[in-house]
Structures are given as structure tokens and as C-alpha cells.
Symmetry: C2
Subunit: 338 residues, 2 copies
DNA sequence: TTGAAAGCGCTAACAT
DNA sequence: ATGTTAGCGCTTTCAA
């Protein structure tokens, strides 16, 4: 069932059918309705591959997400989506797995949909020049930047928070509240990614406050999931590890950590304070509400789109924007006096 | 940058490049490596639209999800994904918005990617024959079925739980624990969808147990979100509405409800028991752990794929599978003695 | 082992 | 207002 079948069915040419389908103005009402009826009757559905192939560059941009389902990404995603729509552009989304190559996926999307630009939501922190050469349109890295690579700053745009500084801020907040035995919950101290960056902030905050680093207080999980976080905290508690506060590299891990503390008979925040970075919806409904540094998710999405469209429309240069988190004071941190 | 450019760059024909790219056996090693090098150097990325257009029907099936980010769908999604991969098929995913037409979206996907079948994850409960005529491949509705439409059972497959019966079961469980003043938290009593079905189960359970229905105990929210659920419960509590138990149509709404109860000074389950249906990850980490009827998410995904592949490969008929939930005993329900 | 050429379904000039 | 036709980038016969 192709456009040709529809044309034959109506006794018109394929271009006429195409015109009707694309709402071109100069088609007689008689023909238009005849075609529409045929389309209905025959249950004709256009082949978008064929359409994409022939169409000139559209006003479309792409979004490659490394794991929708990540609640943090989801919020940014929605912001990107609505901002793009407001600007009169359309958007194509592609979800990829951790482990998949977001640049290659993006490049394919750009090629097949003739996109004008690309936003990458969650990706590697260590690109090099060859990796990004695949992309022949402007692109912006949203929520991450090239912290561990050697990519030229002028070759890409990014919108992030300063992960290291924000982690520092979170830990510093605990110190200001009298905590000295501060544990950290993370996936890895050297993943060349967000975990490592936030760990660096943790270390720095300890150092600046004259707190000796204790390896035992680094609670390493086997993944970013809640289950892994829960297990890691349980294990630490079983070992009678003593700490008065816990800095978690993500909200969801913090929620699981609070549950683990609770299940072990420790009250949050009385027996142990908990702080994190992210500010996802779920942690606003935990008991107690999680104290966290909330990422400006909406702003990040919006800003990413703005940078991209500026480049597309104004041919401006690549830029790097660093946003700040917004502290959300929950009930999971309390003052300690010793 | 097309296959033609690569061909010219190497001084070979496009068909040779195509062969190399598609790993055809009969290409000389010399030419193969020459082409590969050119592909690298030129950063050539194939245009998948062009490829899809020309390729014959693949071993690919589609998955249309109404809102990834819905944590329930996310789990099913993963199950579908891995099952399809195991079977040696590939999968194309398309996320759509509530409000968008999943059948049309599915039909387009099928057309452009030449899919062999389709799985719809979350869709309307009231199709009619004309709607599904767009689809010329077998399809299975996952997590919903045609409860409110007049579609012929033989025209489609489905994998679901019995929403009405499970809601009945949840409420009945509360009754068995001594509760009589049981409120329900839902989005709508007549949305021709999941909310309505679960509401029917609630009503039925009350009736069967000789409990008079009290309209005041129907807590209606302005949406499926946690914020809406929180607000609705807060409002009910402000009105001094008295109930000893609350049945929520979803886990996420239940978590928000527990928070609202907590913030109003009511202890769960001592002052109010809470039960729900879904069994998402988050509610396992709430305090207390939510008591819920957990949907067999993995099984649902797996079964959907199995039904689909059976139809594709064995040309078997459409089937309808109803699975049962698995009660997850948390700490949010307690016995009442009065 | 390689190249030439047809054609997938569609849109957009260009004719009429 | 409508039809004819030339590709879009690719795979795949068919010949050489």
C-alpha cells in the first residue's frame, strides 16, 4: 500500500496525492476529498523513510538520551521538548543504552532525519576530536562536559552544573552542621564520569575542613541502582562503621540509603544525616524529605535548546554554560553538637 | 557525505562500498581495507532512511510506549527488550505522549521500518475495528485490553492483569484486616481506562462485603502525578474526612499519599493503612514499605513477545493472556480491631 | 571479485 | 489545478 496505490484508486497522479497529504493549497476541493476518502478506506500510512530521504533539511533537531527512565533525564527531556516546540522546531528522540555510543547514534539520527543540530543528554566525559568528527551539525552536551577528554572547547557546547563544586558544597554543608565523620555513597571513585567528579568534591571538602580522609567511609556500590545503594549501606552498617552523615552522589541512591538506615534501626537525621545531589521528584516524598542540591533541570533543558538554536540560526560559536543547583532543604540533615 | 563519495574517494563503485559495509563475503581484502579506511577518514555514516527504504522485511518488531518514564512501563520495556534480543530479533522503540494515537504511530513505524509485528505498551481501552485496520501486522496490547471497545477478540492479542479483580482483591484484603472506612485515591471514576476499571473493583469489593458506598471517600486527583495525589490527600485530611484505610490505584500515588498522611501527623499504618497496585521499585524503599499487588512486569513483557513471535513465526491466532499480581507484603497495612 | 543499473516510496521542480 | 519526471541514498540483481 503506497502512494501509488492511492493515486490509482482515485484516478489521479501520485503528486496530487502527495499534495493533498502535505496540505498544499492548490488542490481542488473535489479531488482533495476524493483522495482523503481513499486514504481512509485503504488505510494508507505514509512511509516516513521515503519521505525523510527526499525532504530537504527540516527544522528538526535531535535528542539522544542515555537512559530515559533516569528520572533526572526525564525532567530535562520534558524541558527540552517543550522549548523546542515553542521555538517552532520539531524533535526526534533516540534512547540509547549505557555502553552504546551516543555520538554514533546521534550521527545516524542526524543523517537519516536531516537534523539541524543535536542535544546529547548524558554521555561520556572523555571525547576526543575524532569521536565528534562524525557530527557535522552543532551539538550540545547536556548535563555533562568533557572533563576527562582533550577535546577543544570550541568544538562543542555544554550545559552542566559544576559537579565537583556542588559535591564540595554538599559536604561542606554537612561540616558546617557539625559533622566530621562523613561517609560517601558512590559507584566508583574513578569512572571518569559523574561519580568520580563528585567524589573529588567530597575529598576536597574534607581536606579544606581539615578532616582526615578515611577510606573506610567510601561506600562503594555495584551500580547506580537503588538496590545496590541499599545493599552497600546495609553492609557498612553491619560492619559497625560509624559516621554521622552520608553524602550520596544521587537522590535515588540517597532514598535507598535512608531506607537501609531506617531498617537498621537508625533514625534519619537524628542518628545519621543524609544529603545528595539531583533533586528528583521521588526524593521530595521520602520520609523525611531528602535534603539535596537540586539540579536546575528545566533550565538545563531550556538552555541547551537555546544554545543549539543560537548556533543553528545565528551561527554563533560554541559556548559552555555552568548552572548552579538550588538547595532543597528537606529534613534529612540535622545539626550535630559534639 | 554519501556512499557515492566514499566510492569515488576509493575509486570503486558504490556497490562495492555497500558490500563492505554490509560485510558481504566476496570482497577482496585489499579493497575492503581501502574502503574501511575511507569510511573512517571521511566520517561516513550511512543513511538509515535510505537503507530502510530499500531493504526487504527485516526480523524486527516495534514497541510503542505511551510514556517511558512511567516506572511500571520501564520495567516491562526492559523485559520486552531482552526477550526480543534473545529471540534474535531487533526492536525499534517509539515513545509517544498521552493523547497521541498509538495505533497511528505504530503503523508508521511498521511502514517505515518494515516491521513484522508490534507491541503496544499502554494504550486506549476502547479501540474499534477501523482503528486497528491501519495495522497490517500482528500486534499485542501489553498491560491493557479492549475493555471498553467493541473490537473483535480475534483481531488482536493482549497481555494484562485483571485490573478490576485485582482492585477488588486489594480492597478485600483491607476489609479482611478489619477496615470498613476505606477511601480510594484515583484520577477519575470514568476515564474508560485503568482508573475506571480499578474503581469498579473497589465498588464491587465494598458491595460484596456489605459496606455502604460513601461518595466522600472517593479522593479524586487532578492527574496521575505524585503532586496531584499528595494534594488530594491533604485536602481530604483538611476536611477531617475519616477513613482507616486508603486504596490507591497506583504505587506512585500511594507513596505520595503516605507522605501526605505523614505530614498531617498521621502514622501509616497505625492511623491509616495504605495499599496499592503496581509494585514499582520506588515503593519498596518508602517508609514503611508499601504493601501492594505487584504486577508481573517481567512476565508481561516476556509473554507479549512470545505471543507476537508465535504469530509471526507460527502464524498462530491472536490470544489474550491474563496474569496475576504478586502480593508484596510491606508495612503499610495493619489490622484494625473495633 | 567488481561494476552498472534498477528501483524502494516519496517530494518537488517543471510542464501543461 | 494537475500530471510527468528526476532524483533522495541505498541494496541488490544481473553482467562482465
Amino acid at each position: 500500500m503506497t502512494i501509488k496505490d492511492v493515486a490509482q484508486h482515485c484516478g489521479v497522479s501520485v503528486s496530487t496525492v502527495s499534495r493533498v497529504l502535505n496540505k498544499h493549497p492548490d488542490v481542488s476541493e473535489r479531488v482533495r476529498s476524493k483522495v482523503m476518502r481513499a486514504v481512509e478506506e485503504l488505510h494508507y500510512v505514509p512511509n516516513s523513510s521515503a519521505r525523510d530521504l527526499v525532504c530537504a533539511a527540516s527544522d528538526a533537531v535531535g535528542l539522544v538520551v542515555r537512559g530515559v527512565g533516569n528520572p533526572f533525564f526525564l525532567d530535562v527531556f520534558h524541558a527540552v521538548e517543550s522549548t523546542i516546540a515553542e521555538a517552532g522546531y520539531t524533535m526526534f528522540v533516540q534512547n540509547i543504552h549505557p555502553g552504546e555510543d551516543e555520538l554514533r547514534a546521534g550521527a545516524q539520527l542526524v543523517r537519516s532525519k536531516k537534523l539541524r543540530g543535536l542535544i546529547l543528554l548524558g554521555g561520556c566525559f572523555d571525547y576526543n576530536a575524532d569521536d565528534v568528527a562524525l557530527l557535522d551539525v552543532p551539538f550540545v552536551c547536556c548535563s555533562y562536559t568533557n572533563s576527562f577528554g582533550n577535546l577543544d572547547e570550541k568544538a562543542y557546547s555544554s550545559v552542566t552544573i559544576d559537579d565537583r563544586a556542588e559535591a564540595h558544597r554538599a559536604v561542606h554543608y554537612l561540616v558546617k552542621n557539625g559533622h566530621r565523620r562523613i561517609a560517601v555513597l558512590l559507584e566508583s571513585t574513578d569512572d571518569r564520569s559523574i561519580s568520580e567528579l563528585r567524589y573529588m568534591g567530597y575529598r576536597q571538602a574534607l581536606e579544606e575542613n581539615g578532616i582526615a580522609f578515611d577510606e573506610a567511609l567510601v561506600l562503594q556500590t555495584r551500580g547506580y541502582g537503588m538496590d545496590a545503594a541499599y545493599d552497600a549501606v546495609c553492609e557498612a552498617l553491619k560492619k559497625e562503621l560509624s559516621f554521622s552523615a552520608l553524602f550520596c552522589i544521587s537522590d535515588s541512591m540517597a532514598v535507598a540509603a535512608m531506607k537501609a538506615l531506617h531498617d537498621a534501626g537508625r533514625s534519619v537525621p537524628k542518628d545519621c544525616s543524609v544529603i545528595a545531589i539531583d533533586g528528583i521528584e521521588m526524593s521530595a516524598y521520602s520520609i523525611p524529605t531528602l535534603t539535596t542540591l537540586s539540579q536546575p533541570k528545566h533550565e538545563m533543558g531550556e538552555m541547551s535548546v537555546r544554545l543549539l538554536l543560537d548556533m543553528i540560526e545565528g551561527h554563533t560559536a560554541n559556548r559552555h554554560v555552568v548552572l548552579e543547583t538550588e538547595p532543597r532543604r528537606g529534613g534529612s540533615v540535622c545539626r550535630i553538637c559534639d
